[in-house]
Structure formats: structure tokens, C-alpha cells
């Protein structure tokens, strides 16, 4: 058994690295995934700006990226990672593969949220002379905001899971601790603690996120 203070600082460092990887990756993944999801929705044959060919190309790219297992992607993008970050180990180095893996996933999550928006609302906006851009910002994204928030919770927890996996290839965070102490050194108690912490983080994100999502949905206001 390790000395308690060393133990705490180890876990504390792992925790902060995990949060860092997750949040930064989620941010960048949305930076690409959100516009991509919007583009997928509006260019679909039933969308507000149908562009069948572009839509099909985007679909194929997204599906291909999504069907590559994350561990393989992690290794495959190493050259790109080195170029962007300067190194292939540590928590920052896991961000590029996390973003590449999560962005297409997020695009699909965003797309499914936007598709939930009642076609009647879009028709009403069109009848008022709204431009496609105005429909995207004032109707699609705003009407779907609660569903988008739910999607963001799912995306964040998924990225958290991926970030733990990156521990196998030299990434940091709780995943790396679990791998180094639990897998390589048979310190099962350390591994269990990291797993427990990961579960707690997921629970917190889930709870807080879903509560926010419900609160921002005006449809849930009770009839007075």
C-alpha cells in the first residue's frame, strides 16, 4: 500500500488530467461536430437547403470514421498527433485522436436532435421570409436546445470513456493510472479506485447535464 499523501496526489493528478482531456476534447469535437451535424441536416433531401451530393459525401466520411475502432484510430493518427502537439505521449497528445473520433459521433447526435424539430415550425419560419441561416440559428438550434444538451451529456461521457482507453497508449489521466498500477503492477485496489472515480464523474455529468437540459425546455413548463 502506498503512502496516503502520494496516493492522493497521484489520483488527484489523474483526475485533473482526465477532466482536462475530456473537456478540451469535447470542446474541439463540438467545434467540428456541431457545424457538421447542422450541414448534414440542412443538406439532406428533406432539409431546408437540399444538396444531395454533398450530403452523401459527408455521410460516407462520417460513417467511415465512426466504424474505425478507437484504439486503432489512436495509433493511426499518431503522425498527425506528433505534428500538432509535438509529442505522442501525455494527456495533450490524446486530444487529437479524441477529437477525430468524437466529431463524427457528435455530428450524428446533433443531426438527430435537429431532426426532432417539428417541420411545421420550419415551414412557419419560411413563410415569414426567414433565410436558411436564420432558420438554423433561430429555429433549429434554439428549438432543439434541450435535446442538444442531452446529446452533449452523451458525447461528454463517451469521450470520457475514450480518454480512459488512451491510457494504454501512453495518454494520461485516470485511465493511465488504472493501466499502470492495476494492469502492469497488479495493484487491484488502485485500479478499483480509479474505476470508482470514473463512475462518479460520469454520474455527476449525467445528473447535472440532464437537469440543465430539462430546465432549458420550455415545453416542460406545466400548464397553469
Amino acid at each position: 500500500m502506498m503512502e496516503f499523501s502520494r496516493w492522493m496526489s497521484l489520483i488527484g493528478e489523474g483526475l485533473s488530467e482526465t477532466l482536462y482531456m475530456t473537456l478540451v476534447s469535447t470542446f474541439f469535437a463540438y467545434l467540428f461536430g456541431l457545424p457538421l451535424g447542422v450541414l448534414l441536416t440542412v443538406t439532406s433531401p428533406s432539409g431546408i437547403q437540399p444538396m444531395p451530393r454533398l450530403n452523401r459525401v459527408l455521410g460516407v466520411i462520417i460513417n467511415s470514421l465512426r466504424s474505425v475502432p478507437f484504439l486503432i484510430l489512436l495509433v493511426a493518427v499518431l503522425p498527425l498527433t506528433r505534428k500538432l502537439v509535438g509529442t505522442t505521449i501525455g494527456s495533450t497528445a490524446t486530444i487529437p485522436p479524441l477529437v477525430i473520433a468524437a466529431a463524427p459521433f457528435i455530428a450524428r447526435v446533433v443531426e438527430s436532435s435537429l431532426l426532432e424539430v417539428d417541420a411545421g415550425l420550419i415551414e412557419a419560419a419560411e413563410s415569414m421570409g426567414a433565410s436558411p441561416y436564420q432558420i438554423i440559428t433561430k429555429v433549429l438550434l434554439t428549438e432543439a436546445r434541450s435535446s442538444l444538451a442531452t446529446g452533449a451529456v452523451i458525447a461528454t461521457t463517451t469521450i470520457l470513456g475514450y480518454s480512459a482507453l488512451a491510457g494504454f497508449t501512453g495518454g494520461g489521466g485516470l485511465g493511465a493510472i488504472a493501466v499502470n498500477y492495476g494492469y502492469h503492477r497488479y495493484q487491484t485496489d488502485v485500479m478499483l479506485w480509479t474505476v470508482f472515480l470514473l463512475i462518479v464523474i460520469v454520474q455527476i455529468i449525467q445528473e447535472v447535464g440532464m437537469r440543465l437540459s430539462r430546465r432549458m425546455d420550455a415545453r416542460l413548463r406545466s400548464k397553469s
Binding site: D118, S127, M128, S131, A218, R219, R221, S222
Partner: protein
């Protein structure tokens, strides 16, 4: 196409607002081709309340969506205030749409915006300054009688209230015309009446032209000046009274006097269809007839409607086999100013003949 236009001499309703010329809309290709509209010619005049009635699938929604080019016609022209809408650029079309308000059966309010924010929506789109837009939106809420619901979300409003907010929203940008697609079909009769009353007063006080799509005769009757009966093409157009009194197309007769099961029971020639077209005075005609002719008749069906306080409608009566009695009854009825028609299976199916007695 102007053959449909019956002139109205109150000055207000002379100028055409919409002219549809040879409007045709075909959905799909090949085997799955559906012709929703076929060579529709129609003029809607500025200031009138124009009804478009038809059975489900007759092309009503397609037609009204063509008026603001939400639906692109396959062929033909949509001319709004003298401008062929299909010649406009995208940007110009968006600008024109601000002059064409629209409301829907399902209200289509933005669920994440309050009433006030919903009404402000078209003003934001046109780039109006926010404080001005808010003031205008408040004015509109006042107009539709919901000033206290400014902060309410659609989920907190009843159907009738939601439709009022939708009307306020559609009127906020000061349009020339309000298109209503089955705007009252989701509402109960009392709420329907209050919404129709509101539309009527909007037409009268603001001079906004109103186009109403419906499958309900009662809606047309309640507020429309003129009506077009549609069944992929326009079956007939005219003043509401005239169309109701003397529907000339089969589809109009079907809508005005639903056949029902009665016709299946009719056989032989000893039935008469008696049509009241408002010219006969308020007298109990059938009762007086039995007294005058001394022959009993039985009433098989009666379907009358009240238009501007005058009864229109039809009645089917069974008369004696005796030829002399029959003659007597028919001539009595004609003398009272009603239209009489012998009903055979064939004429029953085809409704009223224009000539009356054959």
C-alpha cells in the same frame, strides 16, 4: 381564367391580389406520380375573405403553399400584386413573403419562445430594432385579446390562445394577406367561432385579405365572401350564397349536401327533392302544402342551412303514387317559389338539376 370572376360592386374587392394562371403541381415521378393541382385558374381580390373548400387530398394545402411559393409549381404562374413570384430572386422572394402572413392547423409556434418572443420573431427576421419590435408585438397581443399572456410559453396556452398568438405573429409584419390552412380544424366549435370572429374583424378593421382553406362548409359559411370548390382543379367559384344555393358541380353538391345513406333507400319515381333557395318566404311550406293539396307526404330527409338569416337547403319527400296528386303537389310547391325536382336513382346521385322540374 377571368371567366370565374363575378364582379362585386362594393369597390373594395375589385383589385386582384393573387392571380393563379394554369397552376399545376405534380409530386413524384413515373409510377408514383401524383397530380395535386391541375390547371388551377383563380383570382383572389384585395380585401375579400376567400374560402377554398375541398375534400381531404383535394390539393388545398398544396394550393395555399403555392401562394407564397413554399411549394414550387410544376407549371403555371402565381402573380401577387401584379408580380410573378417565380421571377423573383431568392432574396426578393423572402422580402415578399413578409407581406404574406400564414397560420396553420397545428399553430406552429416556437415552443422555446414566449408569446411575445414568438410575435417578435418575424420582426427580428426583417431586422427591426428590438425595442420597436417589442412594442409592435405588444400591440399585436392586444389586438388578439391576449395582453396578459405575454410571458406565457405555448405549452402554457390553450389551442385557441395559441392560434391567437399565431395570428398576432402572422400580422406583426403588417402583411397584405393572411393565409389560413385549416386554421380552426384542431379547435372545438366554440373556439372555432371565436377565431373566425377574430379573422372577420381583422379583415374589416385592418383590410387584410384572408384566404381560408378548409374542408368544413360551416367555416366558409361563417365568414367567407367568395368560395372556390377544389378537386385537383377548381370545380366552381363564386359568391358563397350563390354556390350554396345553386351548386353546379358534383363535388360542391357533395360538400354542401352530403349524400349519406338516404340515397340508397330511394327507388322509383315517387320522391321529390325540394330545394329552398332563400326566395320562399318564412312560411311552413310543407305543412301548408298538405293542407292545400289534401295529400299526406312524408319527409325523408331535411338538410337546411342558415345563411345571413335566410334558410337554404333541401328536403326529400315521399309523395303518393297517384299522378294527379303528384301534379298538384308539384305545382303548389312551384307556386310558393321553391325548386322541385323528381328524384330518381340517377338524379339523386347527381344532386340537383339546374332546371328544376323536368
Amino acid at each position: 381564367m377571368s371567366s370565374y370572376v363575378t364582379p362585386v360592386h362594393d369597390g373594395l374587392r375589385e383589385e386582384p391580389l393573387f392571380q393563379l394562371e394554369g397552376l399545376t403541381k405534380v409530386f413524384g415521378k413515373g409510377e408514383e406520380k401524383v397530380t395535386a393541382l391541375q390547371d388551377v385558374n383563380l383570382t383572389i381580390r384585395a380585401g375579400e375573405i376567400f374560402g377554398i373548400i375541398g375534400l381531404s387530398g383535394a390539393g388545398k394545402s398544396t394550393l395555399i403553399r403555392c401562394l407564397n411559393l413554399l411549394e414550387r409549381p410544376s407549371d403555371g404562374k402565381v402573380i401577387f400584386r401584379g408580380v410573378d413570384l417565380q421571377t423573383l430572386s431568392k432574396k426578393e422572394l423572402l422580402k415578399e413573403r413578409q407581406k404574406i402572413g400564414m397560420i396553420f392547423q397545428s399553430f406552429n409556434l416556437l415552443q422555446q419562445r414566449t408569446s411575445l418572443e414568438n410575435i417578435r420573431f418575424p420582426l427580428e427576421i426583417s431586422g427591426m430594432e428590438k425595442s420597436k419590435a417589442t412594442a409592435r408585438a405588444r400591440e399585436m397581443l392586444e389586438l388578439v385579446g391576449l395582453p396578459e399572456k405575454e410571458k406565457a410559453y405555448p405549452s402554457e396556452l390553450s389551442g385557441g390562445q395559441q392560434q391567437r398568438v399565431a395570428i398576432a405573429r402572422a400580422l406583426a409584419s403588417d402583411p397584405d394577406v393572411l393565409l389560413c390552412d385549416e386554421a380552426t380544424s384542431a379547435l372545438d366549435p366554440a373556439t372555432t367561432k371565436s377565431i373566425l370572429d377574430l379573422l372577420k374583424s381583422i379583415n374589416e378593421t385592418l383590410g387584410v385579405t384572408i384566404v381560408i382553406i378548409t374542408h368544413e362548409m360551416s367555416v366558409v359559411q361563417a365568414i367567407c365572401h367568395r368560395v372556390a370548390v377544389i378537386d385537383t382543379s377548381i370545380a366552381e367559384v363564386g359568391e358563397v350564397e350563390k354556390v350554396f344555393r345553386r351548386p353546379t358541380s358534383r363535388i360542391a353538391r357533395e360538400l354542401i349536401f352530403p349524400k349519406g345513406e338516404l340515397l340508397e333507400r330511394l327507388q322509383g319515381n315517387n320522391y321529390l327533392r325540394v330545394v329552398f333557395d332563400g326566395t320562399a318566404a318564412n312560411e311552413p311550406i310543407i305543412a301548408n302544402m298538405t293542407l292545400a293539396c289534401q295529400t299526406p307526404v312524408s319527409i325523408l330527409s331535411a338538410d337546411s342551412r342558415n345563411i345571413d338569416g335566410i334558410a337554404y337547403g333541401q328536403m326529400i319527400i315521399q309523395i303518393p303514387e297517384d299522378e294527379q296528386d303528384k301534379e298538384k303537389i308539384i305545382s303548389y310547391l312551384i307556386s310558393r317559389g321553391v325548386t322541385v325536382e323528381e328524384v330518381t336513382e340517377d338524379t339523386a346521385q347527381n344532386g340537383l338539376s339546374k332546371e328544376g322540374v323536368k
